[in-house]
Homo-oligomer: 418 residues x 2
């Protein structure tokens, strides 16, 4: 089966947003072994959209559309497809009730044009929209299947993953099992990792092995095909064992793990609590931890001490220490970690101070970061980063390195058992 992804929206052609939907859907289809040969982006123009549909029908079996399902006159995707396939648009009662409820919950008045969102292609399978209003659709005829999805990624991604993707194996009608497994690394560069598994990368057939780097993190994706699930897993496990032997040191987790979810697991499983005092990251470290549901059992809270005055008056860092060593120093980071740990009564205290940029701070150049960690069992330790990115890349990197160093320290010190 060959698929083509057609994104509809003039805002894409004006360069106001990137087509991240095509990336998301493509990676999901790759997991299912469905080949994507083309992405197309077309504006909110019914004639050009129709031309794109005809071209896609000539080279793909499955056409996946994103965008153009909204309430405005510009939104014409389902109207154009209905015309082309000679199908009526009919009101879907469930969708209409859901949209009316949506407005009630938001305490807003529903304007008439919003009803249009509940119209669906006659005879289609309706894909509910749990995070917005316009429902999606799946329609198949002898030659092609058409999936229509909304444009906003926060609506499209869960709809594709939970409503559309489970329907695809039926369309595929295939017996081959395809399994994918991701190994997640931090603290090692892409080039260094690739050098260490060069021969495995070169000789890959089944499983295939694909490296990918982003945001300081590197992943390896292992994908195996077989007649049985058991054999596919065996293939993946054999290759994984070889990889772990070489670079297992840098592995922090697997598949949907994030640094934060992995840390949560370590903290909860070992009954550890954490607090943080943040300066340059201004709450981003704790916010990143709180992205994971259930973090409340481990993360009790902390302080944002953006100014020197607050560091001294509220956190209790000595003015003398700041005068002696400066606010961007190992001494200040360790002291922040010790003070917040004591004040909030946790097993772990974190202190982050630095110069995010674009200017230097506390006598240090932009990109300098000190991370302090205080644990029950030992004297505080600190780590220095010299980052080279823009302000907010540096802030995010500082947060991710903090989680990475903490995970390693907990494991190396035998404080966390997994």
């Amino acid at each position: 089966m060959k698929a083509e992804i057609i994104a509809v929206g003039s805002e894409l052609l004006l360069g106001q947003i990137s087509n991240t939907n095509a990336r998301f859907i493509s990676s999901q289809l790759a997991e299912l072994g469905i080949d994507v040969y083309y992405h197309t982006v077309v504006g909110d123009n019914p004639n050009r959209l129709l031309d794109s549909i005809k071209i896609a029908e000539g080279r793909a079996d499955l056409l996946i559309f994103t965008g153009g399902l909204g309430p405005t006159k510009d939104d014409l995707t389902k109207e154009t497809i209905a015309n082309h396939l000679n199908k009526k648009l009919v009101m879907d009662d469930h969708a209409l009730i859901y949209i009316e409820d949506f407005f009630k919950r938001m305490n807003r008045e529903m304007t008439e044009n919003n009803k249009k969102q509940a119209l669906v292609l006659e005879g289609c399978t309706v894909l509910p929209n749990k995070h917005g209003m316009a429902p999606g659709m799946l329609l198949s005829n002898e030659k092609h299947s058409y999936i229509l999805l909304p444009g906003p990624p926060k609506e499209m991604e869960p709809m594709f993953q939970f409503e559309a993707k489970p329907l695809l194996p039926k369309l595929l009608n295939e017996e081959t099992i395809i399994l994918s497994h991701v190994i997640r690394f931090y603290g090692i560069g892409e080039a260094e990792l690739e050098t260490k598994v060069q021969d495995l990368l070169e000789n890959q057939t089944n499983p295939t092995l694909a490296p990918l780097a982003s945001d300081g993190e590197v992943t390896l994706r292992l994908t195996a095909k077989s007649d049985t699930e058991k054999d596919a897993w065996h293939k993946i496990e054999t290759l994984q064992a070889e990889i772990l032997q070489r670079v297992g040191n840098f592995v922090y987790g697997y598949n949907n793990d994030s640094l934060a979810s992995k840390l949560r697991e370590l903290l909860i499983d070992n009954n550890l609590t954490i607090s943080a005092a943040e300066s340059m990251t201004a709450g981003l470290f704790q916010s990143e931890l709180a992205e994971v549901p259930g973090m409340g059992e481990a993360l009790v809270g902390g302080m944002i001490t953006y100014t020197e005055k607050i560091k001294v008056e509220q956190l209790g860092v000595k003015q003398q220490l700041l005068s002696d060593y400066g606010v961007v120093s190992s001494q200040c980071a360790e002291e922040m970690a010790v003070r917040i740990k004591e004040k909030f009564g946790t097993n772990i205290g974190i202190g982050i101070t630095g110069a995010a940029g674009p200017d230097g701070h506390g006598g240090q150049p932009a990109g300098t970061v000190w991370i302090g960690i205080a644990l029950d069992q030992m004297a505080p330790v600190s780590y220095k980063l010299s980052l080279t990115g823009m302000r907010n890349t540096n802030r995010l990197r500082a947060v991710k390195f903090t989680i990475h160093y903490l995970i390693r320290l907990l494991r190396e010190e035998g404080i966390a058992k997994i």
Copy 2:
């Protein structure tokens, strides 16, 4: 002139990266008034690339290619175009010397396949690559122009901007001035906004008017064409005046403003300081403010009070209040705002409490958020949100609504003068 952007690379079709190059080039072309009707993504396959070129030649005058100029056997963009146009590939001496130098500077040995990168289309204008090895190309015949650019954004973006873009007005042969202006709204839905400016959207010619919604924010882009800059601005100002009269209430800023940058401007210009106590957002509000450089003059810091215990012991919220009203309540949000304002000695105190999801919290369903604001001049106020997104969308929305309500309150109360 109509343009089409063709991205070449199987990594895009596998969903490993997003096609950010198309977004970048499109936004640059929009500034020049060049219409982009399609983006195409095709893999490293010469037959499918050739098919895409033929389709694009039938619907565009200018074809811009990204990717497929590298040293490997997969890189086939210029070879495919050379075959199609019956052109030879010739060695460009400048490019070759540059590539040899590049390896010397990197202290690496140059392998033979790297020479292939210095081959260019016979008769083309060579576009130097200041941030990598493969040069770009511009070639025109009677019917079409072809621009070939490398795939990595850090090479492509400066090459397009500084080498290719300056050559486009000659291709265009136009004298028209094009100006764009963006009005930014918050707290109003896309459909509601469009209803209020429906007639302006329907009758648009010059300036054109384009709505765009993302992350709870809606923008209107006004684009005017004229012979003179003065007249183009006059057209934009006339239409903007009409829009402000209808929905000026929801406008928070213009062009590159963000909610956070706008708030920073209001705070600094009016000598106001701010602190926050965050529960469900766990530092995201303060981190969002700190994304803007120079926020340190207004944001002194705050607390993250993730657990009830910390709210009581560290922030000073009365246990009785939590027992009476619950932790997700207007009373708790207002008390958090009042307490942090007092403790940190600022003009403004913010309290955010809620149930981010997926589960409810404090007896309230997921998505319930209370935002408290305490100001010097008045009794604390609070706002309720009922959000419908996933956990982290809700957390980000809560932060953006907080900034939005604060900006409105400061303006309405006459505390901030702009």
